[in-house]
Subunit: 416 residues, 2 copies
């Protein structure tokens, strides 16, 4: 019997790990609560009515077809029984010889109930679709609303958090409104529409160098987005955001990208947690005291020796490199070898602001504006999940670029 | 002030009417409970995980952009106040000078509560997405089910009604399973899977000539579908279909395409109804006694003088021709002219059975098998809603044809 590697989570970390185990003498079982792997960098384009789910998500079973030793089960992960070596799910326990925890991250509201209740997240595919429905519904709703104050609140969109997700979402909403919906709603007074980006820090895109932060801020403002820096959100209602200073911004739609923490799976395991509720791991990505249990991706709190021991950020390249490292370690351990320390190689970071502007920081190479956007375009098109998706995404992107169109402006949810 | 034409429903009848009024000296207001127009002939491909909503639905506002005199409001239609000339909606009344009722049709369960509760329909976009989710969920579920009888019921799909929708859906499910899911689920025993097409008449596709009915039946059977003719459904539970003779077919998923009736809007108006709860109209498509009120499409019970006075069938070409006729009549009436009688020109009918077979009956031209399928392909590709959709649909179709793939095998619904 080959040893069984159970991988909890089919995101970038888990999927990469499964793929890297292709030739190892093990059985791989991927478990995820969704039946698809999500290409999260383009989720904001689903919310922005440019792409449909089929372009940014792929069935896990499809993706693991080339792996002869891998299978998949759809189930929500509840916990781990380390003693019996069982992964616990809502469908029952799954026995493992090696366990890779890769359940990712979720929105963090820092215990503020009003934020949790009244804001929309952008981490999951169903959230992207919900946000698309919401934005479009607000505009239809506004046509039935006589009261100007109410109409202005309906047509105001606040994005909290100016990291890459917040910046990209704010850009996408602003362009959706100014380039597309403005033509759909002939009577629309564009002065009644607001897109506000709220950030507690004194700059946007804090992980970038100052010159790129500044380029991004200017680019956002040119696209009609109000950038509020040094602004801390205190509470949110169904029609307003209240800032720490007392200022209120009337907005019925508030998107929360300001906080993220590890998935709840980590909390219940009795393991030591570090910043953002991530599981503390050894330099080998093993859980201390559990040599057959590994953690990768956003759930893992791995220290970066090159970064003075700081915890590695929640980024796709980190998750993928960790997944690959753990796969190699497991293959070594099956062959009676030992675990080695993980070392992150930083490929750079980028963020896009609408249809022709992006910032990219790739080692010594810093790009902004149109050159940054071309770089962003190339990198994402290469990484989109399949050749077919690439064709369809290319058609849709070209279509938008040429005709300022967002084809998927549909308010729809699957019937229950 | 130009007279205001209110069109209730943005399906093929309503949208065609609005477009045909482009140059008439009227204001047009389209009202629909959805913000999109649905290309219903390809809805089964959304259910079959081949296309995403963006390919078969388009925002109404996008479609009416070229019409300078048209606007749209999203609202559900409740009724009509003929005296005050108001269309009544869930958002409030809308005044009209001319009214075109085009709210289409819905599933008819013939008062059988067990059918209404336990079957899934395929008339609306949200139903297509729900059915896709259901089919894929059954396969994931079956992997957790040890009991063979239960697993067989999970993997059995009954389609009731062998009209074009039933035939197309049965073909799409069978191919999804045999060509795609079989590769996704390595352990799957194909003998545990059933696709059953249940029809009360002694033949499939009753509106076609006998030779094409027979060609379709053979084609269905070649694709592994069990065709049960002369079989009347008596009741449905959450795991079985019970036929009139007492026979039970174990199946957790039952799709109902055997009955269709006009939308409920017709019922509450106090007007005379004909077969399938359709509103009786004059030969001019006016409602008797209400010369400014017209009915088009599935909601209209228009007699066909060429067919010996029989009610015209619920078909897209009927709806479109009626919409065009009513637009011309309204333009005439605004110019002090009168109404003329509608005459239907039959362009033919077609239905497809999977990836390389279809039947087409176009006057004297009867095609089946591969030639029929090429005809079906051409007609649908030309009629798909936009040039962009055409490209994307073509990519997806070619992809499926070459690689036996259904890219959108995603279980997802928009978060509430």
């Amino acid at each position: 019997m080959r040893p069984r590697v159970v991988i909890a989570g089919a995101g970038f970390g888990g999927l990469t790990c499964a793929r890297a185990l292709k030739h190892a003498p093990v059985e791989v079982l991927l478990v995820d609560r969704n039946n698809y792997h999500l290409f999260t960098p383009l989720l904001y384009q689903v919310a922005g009515a440019l792409l449909d789910p089929g372009e940014i998500a792929r069935p896990v079973r499809q993706l693991i077809r080339p792996l002869d030793n891998a299978d998949f089960l759809q189930a929500a992960i509840i916990g781990v029984d380390f003693e019996r070596r069982h992964l616990l799910t809502d469908r029952g326990p799954i026995a493992y010889d090696y366990l890779v925890l890769a359940t990712g991250a979720q929105s963090d509201y820092f215990g503020n109930a009003s934020i949790a209740e009244h804001t929309m997240g952008l981490k999951e595919l169903d959230e992207g679709l919900a946000l698309r429905n919401r934005i479009l519904t607000q505009f239809e709703e506004s046509r039935w609303t006589e009261e100007p104050g109410r109409r202005r609140a309906l047509l105001s969109f606040a994005v909290v958090g100016a990291g890459p997700t917040g910046v990209e979402m704010a850009g996408a909403i602003s362009e959706l409104i100014r380039l597309v919906l403005r033509k759909d709603y002939r009577g629309l007074d564009i002065n009644e529409v607001r897109v506000v980006l709220i950030e507690a820090a004194p700059y946007v895109l804090g992980t970038f160098v100052p010159s790129l932060r500044e380029a991004a801020r200017r680019s956002l403002q040119r696209k009609g987005i109000e950038v509020m820096l040094g602004a801390k959100v205190e509470s949110v209602t169904d029609s307003a955001v209240r800032l720490a200073g007392g200022e209120e911004i009337a907005a019925c739609t508030v998107i929360w990208t300001a906080g993220v923490k590890a998935s709840d799976v980590g909390k219940g395991l009795g393991l030591q947690l570090v910043r953002q509720a991530r599981i503390k791991v050894d330099s080998t990505l093993q859980v201390h005291g559990h040599p057959v249990v590994f953690v990768v991706g956003d759930l893992a709190g791995a220290a970066d020796p090159a970064g003075g021991g700081a915890i590695l950020p929640m980024l796709i390249p980190v998750a993928m490199q960790e997944g690959r490292h753990v796969a190699a370690t497991i293959a070594d351990m099956v062959g009676r070898g030992g675990a080695s320390a993980f070392r992150y190689k930083d490929p750079g970071i980028m963020a896009t602001i609408g249809r022709n502007s992006a910032v990219a920081q790739l080692g010594w190479l810093h790009l902004s504006g149109f050159p940054g956007w071309l770089m962003w375009l190339g990198v994402h098109l290469v990484n989109v999940i399949s050749f077919r998706s690439r064709l369809v995404v290319l058609v849709n992107w070209a279509w938008e670029y040429l005709f300022y169109d967002r084809p998927v402006r549909l308010i729809v949810r699957a019937r229950q």
